[in-house]
């Protein structure tokens, strides 16, 4: 199977979906002439022209709302928000409009919209440019929220999202764009929305994560294998709907769990997963669930401070050792 980057997987998928369905169009700031702030849309304006690849002015509320309205009439807009931080000025259109319209109007109209945006922090981007807000959207019934961790999933989930008739938040990660993985060619597969995947089998502890933190968890699992610690990695892939049965099945098997996510500790994704585990697998737990999350500060700029405020492989290893304390070999 060919090995390609996460970026390439996204770029290929956008091109294929544009070619497949004339109602699919891309919109966003700097996605055409500029070729995309992170080059996800590179070459697509040249290939598909300005009707299909639309450069917008800096007006997130306006063009996200426009995309919602266009979707209501049958277009399938795929909107790029440069980074998730900027979607806050459009959140009314996502939360009060896109997510409500199908249900609130008695199912009379659909909103087949995808909003793609990278989340999380990397490269000293500091407080306003390093946040993780996917939990804000995952909180909202009516939206679907996906966050792939590999090029394979990026492709399969983006296809599924574009072909889905509901508004989908498609969460990417700046730090994953250059990561590589196997992606089959000439295979029109999709990855189902709402379904997690056990990315690595293990017996001692379950690590639950998504997006970049799944990549971290996979590395950690590899490393700890050498020490005789067997880590099972559950990659959520979708935050809404949340595949609770897969999480619970894994925890029932390993009896221990660590949850890791980049967002802030309080009220974050890790809290939701930990609560799910205590709700549905309390009797199976041999240790309290541990959570690894971002430090609760506006992310500082200084290099070392910045790195130290996001969860790391070391913080995950520490948490895994903690939940394994007292476990008989």
């Amino acid at each position: 199977m060919p090995v390609i980057t996460y970026r390439q997987a996204l770029n290929d998928t956008l091109g294929e979906e544009l070619a497949r369905d004339p109602n699919v169009l891309l919109m966003g700031e700097e996605i055409g002439v500029f070729q995309g702030s992170y080059r996800i849309t590179e070459g697509l304006l040249q290939e598909f022209g300005p009707k299909r690849v639309v450069d917008t002015p800096i007006a997130e509320e306006g063009f996200v709302g426009l995309a919602v309205g266009a979707a209501m009439l049958g277009l399938r807009p795929v909107v790029e928000i440069m980074t998730i931080n900027f979607i806050l000025v459009a959140i009314d259109q996502v939360v009060n409009h896109a997510s409500k319209i199908h249900y609130m109007f008695g199912g009379q109209v659909r909103v087949p919209l995808v909003i793609r945006t990278p989340s999380g922090g990397t490269g000293q981007l500091a407080a306003t440019h390093s946040q993780s807000f996917e939990n804000w959207f995952a909180y909202c019934p009516g939206l679907k929220v996906v966050a792939p961790s590999t090029p394979y999933d990026a492709k399969g989930l983006l296809r599924a999202a574009i072909r889905d008739d509901d508004p989908v938040m498609f969460i990417e990660s700046l730090a994953l764009y250059d990561t590589k993985g196997e992606v089959p060619e000439d295979d029109d597969y999709t990855v189902p929305i709402g379904v997690a995947e056990v990315k690595r089998q293990g017996t001692d502890v379950t690590v639950v994560s998504y997006s970049r933190m799944t990549a971290v968890a996979m590395q950690v699992a590899q490393r700890l294998e050498g020490e005789g610690i067997s880590v099972e990695v559950v990659d959520l892939r979708s935050l809404r709907p949340l595949d609770r049965p897969t999480i619970i099945a894994s925890v029932k098997k390993t009896n221990r769990a660590v949850v890791i996510a980049e967002d802030w500790y309080s009220y974050g994704v890790t809290a939701e997963i930990a609560a799910t585990i205590q709700d549905e697998a309390f009797d199976y737990l041999d240790a309290p669930v541990r959570r690894v999350a971002g430090l609760e500060v506006p992310l500082p700029y200084a290099k070392e401070l910045s790195a130290a405020s996001k969860p790391s492989a070391n913080s995950l290893i520490y948490a895994i050792r903690k939940v394994l304390e007292g476990k008989k070999k």
């Binding site: 169009l25 009707k51 917008t56 002015p57 007006a59 509320e61 306006g62 063009f63 996200v64 709302g65 426009l66 995309a67 919602v68 309205g69 266009a70 979707a71 209501m72 009439l73 049958g74 277009l75 009314d92 259109q93 009060n96 409009h97 319209i101 199908h102 249900y103 609130m104 109007f105 008695g106 199912g107 009379q108 109209v109 659909r110 909103v111 087949p112 019934p141 009516g142 679907k144 889905d164 008739d165 509901d166 189902p192 929305i193 709402g194 379904v195 709907p241 949340l242 595949d243 609770r244 049965p245």
Partner: protein
Amino acid sequence: MAKVEDTQRSALERENPDDLRHYYYQMLLLRRFEERTSEMYVKAKIGGYCHLNLGEEATIVGLMAALTPDDYIFTNYREHGYIIARGVPPGPVMAELFGKETGVSGGRGGSMHLFDAKTHFMGGYAIVGGQVPLAVGAAYALKYQGKPGVVVAQMGDGTTNIGAFYESLNLAKLWNLPVLFFIVNNGYGMGTSVEMGSSEPDLWKKGASFRIHGERIDGTDVLAVRDACRRLRARAEQEGEPAILDVVSFRFRGHSVIDADRYRDPEFVRSGREKHDPVRNFAALLHDHDIVDDDWLKAMTDRVEKEVQEAIDFANASPDPRFEDMYVNMYATPVPNIPGPEDAIREVKINRGEL
């Protein structure tokens, strides 16, 4: 004076009298629907917030007379009259206000969230300004797909102060979209007058820096509204020229049914209702020009009374939505790991103390 009378007479003579009678019927229907809605609210048949179109009948009927079946309408939450004038029978509208399964939104939306796909009534929206980018997006879709028609973005005067409005103006003109920004200027957003809220109180000028043409229209004159809408609609459709219509009308009551309207001088309200009643003024006009007579007017009153009563009866007799349907229409494309009817039933039973 005689001259004005003559022009008016000849203008009216050019009209199809059946159209004129129909406008009157529609305006009277909206008037009576809203008066009875207010009654039903007081009787607690209707919950939530409830905003009436009383005083805005000519604005609504004039707009609808100018539109074609190809067109789409997005409005704010003060929209009972719009969906009815667009052709949805009053029964399912009243049923929605009552929260019934037979309501236009299946009882899931309520007064502020009416919708009817068939007539392209694309919804009432209750976040101020939220409907405006949506309408621009619908216009974008029409243009993209090469379809005929225009989109109306209806809003109140207060809405012209929110950011979404300005981003919408820019996009509409930048991309030459067939959209009409239809501002119902009833002088107030809740208790805030236009002068208190807008540094430019001539709302029709607000498109100037976007190169969008604007006009002020007498919203109590159904023919003036219709004619302006027709003209600007044609330009929007044929030339992709968006326009702002600043349609001045008079809000008969408070902001919503429960608003005591303490911020407006009672004398101002009384004389406004006296002077600017579009329904009564139109009846007088038609009567003066021998287009209708007393018997006809009486017959209309009876007909409308009956229709609105039937709407109330329909709403009363309609079933409530079922608990097991709580999650129906959560998603358009099925997806695993979401709650279903059994979950709904269990949760509802617990909630109601039945488990």
